[in-house]
């Protein structure tokens, strides 16, 4: 060996015993650090990472805060006044007076049918010619006719019920001029007194953002290593599977936490969502949720080893279930029993419930603890399978 004398060649590398001993360790902090450093550099340099981690959440939160609203307000309807009596006029005025409806008053029902067909109105109420007679009649018969646009079932339901409500309130008001009602109902809504859906949606949206970062981004970046052949080179070094995987996940865990903080700040300061619990519990819950999210991403990439496939699987097994089955947009109680059973397997379900609690109610650990346990269990399951599927060789 003339390695010591040949200075220009690679032979100048010393072959210290210490190097070798250290290199043979199963788990080495410095190797992990090197991998984390590498992954962070890649994440920072890849514009799509920044886009997914910071721009997408802002867009999503704005969408859920402003564009998506489950509240019905100012629904456009027509009121066809076929009778000219004073009581008919006063009922029409009652319709016009509510803030939930926006009324177009007409005289002839033919004028509004076209508007309903073209979608300009969501329905109409006919106050018939014989309104006075119906009102006076003791036989129970409908006072008005309500026509709604069934192509939008939720709105149609709302219009029908609300029109019914207006008529009843109006009727009650007429009678109220006589003896006062014995009981008065005054409903109070807890946690979200104004019943603004935004307050429930924005915390839920954080769960969606975290799913995207945790599951989709992770699945993509690990699959990329397989696809580009860099995994093969890394595997031929002394780095262990645990180091490779943790080195991969740690940067995205931190990225996920940063995105949560940013989303929470946006929610509180821009969208006026109150944070009634503590920031600490919010961060703890998010950290726990990242366990199943990252685990799922890792599992997907370990099985598919292909970016396109990984993104598709992440979309269908991660993003869509969190969107549809977590109770974020659609209430779980309203789902068929079989679907409700499936929601128990979706980690986002537990996270959405926890988020809504921490934002709107406060630190209710009785709610958090079972959710935390469930997320950890699902996450642990994903990690065990992912570790099992990733061996330190190229065998399938």
């Amino acid at each position: 060996m003339n390695s010591e004398t040949n200075k220009t060649s690679a032979g100048a590398v010393p072959r210290g015993q210490a190097n070798r001993e250290q290199a043979s360790h199963k788990f080495d902090g410095r190797r992990l650090l090197a991998l984390v450093h590498k992954e962070s550099l890649q994440a920072i340099r890849d514009p799509s990472t920044i886009l997914i981690a910071f721009v997408l959440p802002v867009v999503l939160l704005f969408l859920f805060a402003y564009a998506v609203s489950l509240d019905v307000r100012e629904v456009r309807i027509g009121v066809v006044l076929e009778s000219d009596t004073a009581s008919a006029q006063s009922l029409a005025a009652a319709f016009a007076g509510t803030r939930y409806l926006k009324v177009t008053p007409v005289r002839d029902r033919r004028e509004v049918t076209d508007l309903v067909v073209s979608g300009k109105l969501r329905g109409f109420v006919v106050i018939p010619q014989d309104f006075e007679r119906r009102l006076a009649s003791f036989v129970a018969q409908p006072l008005v006719q309500v026509i709604t646009d069934g192509s939008q079932p939720n709105t149609a339901n709302f219009v029908a019920n609300y029109a019914q409500g207006v008529v009843q309130t109006w009727g009650a008001g007429r009678r109220a001029s006589a003896p006062p009602a014995p009981i008065r109902l005054e409903p109070r809504y807890w946690f979200n007194a104004e019943l603004e859906s935004r307050r429930a949606l924005v915390p839920g949206a954080i769960a969606i953002v975290m799913t995207i970062i945790g599951t989709m981004l992770t699945a993509l970046v690990v699959a990329r290593e397989w696809e580009r052949g860099t995994m093969e080179a890394i595997m031929s070094t002394p780095a262990s599977v645990a180091e490779i995987l943790i080195g991969k996940l740690l940067p995205y865990f931190i990225l996920g936490m940063l995105a949560t903080l940013a989303s929470a700040a946006l929610a509180i300061f821009v969208f006026d969502v109150p944070l009634r619990g503590s920031l600490l519990s919010l961060l703890t819950l998010s950290a726990v949720f990242l366990i199943p999210a990252l685990g799922q991403g890792l599992l997907i990439s370990a099985v598919t080893k292909n970016q396109f496939l990984a993104s598709q699987v992440a979309l269908f097994s991660g993003f869509l279930p969190s969107f549809l089955l977590s109770g974020f947009l659609f209430e779980i109680d309203a789902m068929p029993t079989a679907i409700q059973a499936i929601t128990y397997l979706i980690p986002a379900r537990y996270f959405v419930a926890s988020l809504q609690t921490v934002f709107l109610a406060g630190d209710v650990w009785a709610v958090f603890l079972p959710n935390v346990a469930a997320m950890m269990a699902i996450g642990g399951f994903f990690f065990v399978i992912a570790k099992h599927k990733t061996r330190k060789n190229l065998e399938f």
């Binding site: 060996m1 003339n2 390695s3 040949n6 200075k7 220009t8 060649s9 690679a10 032979g11 100048a12 590398v13 010393p14 072959r15 015993q17 190097n19 070798r20 001993e21 250290q22 290199a23 043979s24 199963k26 080495d28 410095r30 190797r31 650090l33 090197a34 991998l35 450093h37 590498k38 550099l41 890649q42 340099r45 890849d46 580009r228 052949g229 860099t230 093969e232 080179a233 890394i234 595997m235 031929s236 070094t237 002394p238 780095a239 262990s240 330190k392 060789n393 190229l394 065998e395």
Partner: protein, 596 residues
């Protein structure tokens, strides 16, 4: 078993201790047998070539040696460690460079090197001397801040080598390091590997280029998962001593002479080399037949040094015959003009980047015209403009008289195009592929049926009609691709790297067809990275940095690089010479500008 024993033994090991012991190793993936059970030894201080065509099992063996695959049978020990049982230790004593560039393209040269240093347990800040020596060794010093993705093919390989050399492995495994690397950079790689073996390292260099095998001290020759030869390459070429001949003075008739020579029973293999024809006689065959042929053609027959490729073909029982059933069926191509393809000041820019810079040439009817150049030199871009797949930024191009800017459709109907890797449809059967390409070129009814049947018969595809092209043997896959591109009998044929990844026997058959077609007047445009294949061309255009730097017959190009050091230069020597002198001219011009 741990790393200790490995490093302890290295002190007293001699050149004769085996670095790798392969003991009847076998590996199969589902039904495919990648390695069929063979034994061999690889030694320290020596460059061992793992040679064989694509699909021979080279990469599988490499991955087994580096512990990334587990053999189904037999065992492999590397530096005294079992690759399965001592898997962790294997990664310490071996350095591995995968076939695909395995480094991070979005990290810089230095960042990649630091990562690998740390993964191999070195403190990057303490060992700046190692970095310096590696950078000097690989001549990557000026590029440390450049992102790895922005390096040229050759520089990428050097960086890969530098990373694999971190912490100095005892056995260095390089999987096809020469692929995608221009001859100049390849020269550099050879030099580096030479230095490493001189220091006692065992280096394994896998390659599909048989000319690379000749440079190795010892060779493991694989074919279809079997070990065909184990020993110094010279030993194999010696087997065909006095059986290699060159027929000179046949320049105009060389294709006809080759075709006739290959049809002789005593000739096992033959290729065109510039103006000459090179033949290898079968084992134990006499010279009489070839002598008679030389006399008849008025050629001079002279014995030449055998090459490794000749010996490999001989080992496999010789190449195919010299008659192309395909060309026999073709009618002679008649054109209005003698110029089949021409381009003038052809330029293509992508934004600021000029891929092709003012290229002009003319190709006559029946000519085989080669386009050569390192990766990224602009040959693919030029090629794509000539077949109407890309629109030129400036300049014009004509195919059989049709202006490619205006009459793209008409020009396309006059050319056949065979893309890299064959581009057949794996989800269609062989027959459906034929029908599809006939349909695409507008053949209908009786003509369509006739042509398809003709192709099936010529290429002997009958037994495979209902199978998918993916499951065809390589040779048949190539036949099918050629059949598809010739379905409409085009007067001009474009071949883009037609033989990359193809074994030498299949390549011989391919060139028999191409030679036959050229003799019928079909004009053939071809890009290739096999330097010896450039010898089949009538003329070769050499592209470098978007410019055409040389255009001449293969013999004339070789002649320019003749020197005392290289009295009989190869195409590769010529290539290196021309690229280097282009570089020097550029430098001289830059210096002149700086002086002014």
């Amino acid at each position: 078993m741990s790393a200790h024993t490995a490093s302890d033994t290295t002190g007293e090991r001699g050149k004769d201790t085996p670095a790798v012991v392969i003991d009847s190793v076998a590996k199969h993936f589902a039904e495919v047998h990648a390695l069929r059970g063979f034994s061999a030894e690889i030694r320290y201080g020596r460059l061992t070539g793992l040679v064989g065509p694509d699909g021979a099992g080279k990469t599988t063996l490499m991955r087994i040696m580096t512990g990334l695959l587990v053999p189904n049978g037999g065992s492999v020990t590397l530096a005294g460690l079992d690759v399965v049982k001592d898997n962790d230790a294997i990664h310490i004593v071996s350095g591995y460079m995968p076939q695909r560039f395995g480094l991070y393209e979005d990290l810089s040269v230095m960042e990649n090197m630091r990562l690998y240093a740390q993964l191999r347990g070195m403190n990057a800040d303490q060992h700046t001397d190692i970095f310096e020596s590696l950078l000097e060794f690989t001549r990557l010093g000026p590029f440390t801040k450049r992102l790895a993705g922005k390096l040229s093919g050759g520089m990428k390989q050097k960086l890969g080598l530098a990373c694999a050399l971190m912490a100095r492995p005892e056995v260095l495994l390089l999987d096809e390091p020469g692929v995608g690397v221009d001859p100049v950079s390849r020269q550099d790689l050879w030099r580096m590997v030479q230095e490493l073996t001189d220091e006692g390292m065992a280096v394994v260099w896998s390659t599909a280029y048989l000319d690379e095998a000749e440079r190795c001290e010892s060779v493991l020759l694989l074919n279809e998962g079997k070990l065909e030869f184990d020993g110094p390459p010279q030993e194999l070429t010696d087997r065909i001593k006095q059986r290699s001949f060159r027929l000179t003075g046949v320049s105009d008739e060389r294709r006809a002479v080759l075709s006739r020579a290959l049809d002789l029973g005593t000739v096992g293999d033959g290729v065109i080399q510039g103006d000459a024809v090179r033949v290898v006689l079968r084992d134990g065959a006499g010279r009489e037949e070839i002598d008679a042929l030389a006399d008849e053609a008025g050629a001079k027959l002279e014995p030449v040094q055998p090459r490794f490729e000749d010996a490999f073909i001989d080992l496999l029982g010789g190449g195919p015959g010299g008659t192309s059933a395909l060309a026999d069926r073709m009618d002679v191509v008649e054109l209005d003009s003698d110029i089949a393809v021409s381009c003038k000041n052809l330029t293509k820019r992508f934004g600021d980047f000029t891929a092709t810079d003012s290229v002009s040439f003319e190709v006559s009817r029946g000519e085989i015209f080669g386009l050569l150049g390192p990766n990224g030199a602009g040959k693919s871009t030029t090629f794509k403009m000539l077949c109407g797949l890309l629109k030129p930024t400036e300049g014009e191009a004509h195919v059989v008289g049709h202006d490619l800017r205006r009459a793209t459709g008409a020009a396309k109907s006059q050319l056949g195009y065979m893309a890299q890797k064959f581009s057949l449809y794996g989800l269609l059967t062989v027959r459906q592929n034929l029908e599809f390409s006939a349909g695409v070129y507008g053949l209908e009814g009786a003509v369509k049926r006739e042509r398809i049947d003709e192709m099936i018969e010529t290429f002997d595809l009958k037994q495979y009609l209902t199978t998918s092209p993916d499951s065809l043997p390589l040779g048949f896959k190539q036949r099918l691709a050629l059949a598809c591109s010739l379905m409409h009998r085009p007067p001009v044929l474009f071949l883009d790297e037609p033989t990359s990844g193809v074994d030498p026997i299949t390549r011989r058959e391919f060139w028999t067809h191409i030679n036959g077609l050229a003799r019928k007047g079909v004009t053939v445009m071809v890009t290739t990275h096999f330097m010896d294949e450039a010898e089949y061309c009538d003329r070769v255009a050499l592209m470098y940095r978007a410019k055409l730097i040389a255009l001449d017959t293969p013999d004339a190009l070789k002649h320019t690089s003749r020197s005392d050091k290289h009295p009989d230069p190869t195409m590769e020597d010529a290539f290196i010479h021309l690229v280097e002198s282009a570089d020097m001219e550029d430098e001289a011009r830059a210096d002149a500008r700086a002086a002014a």
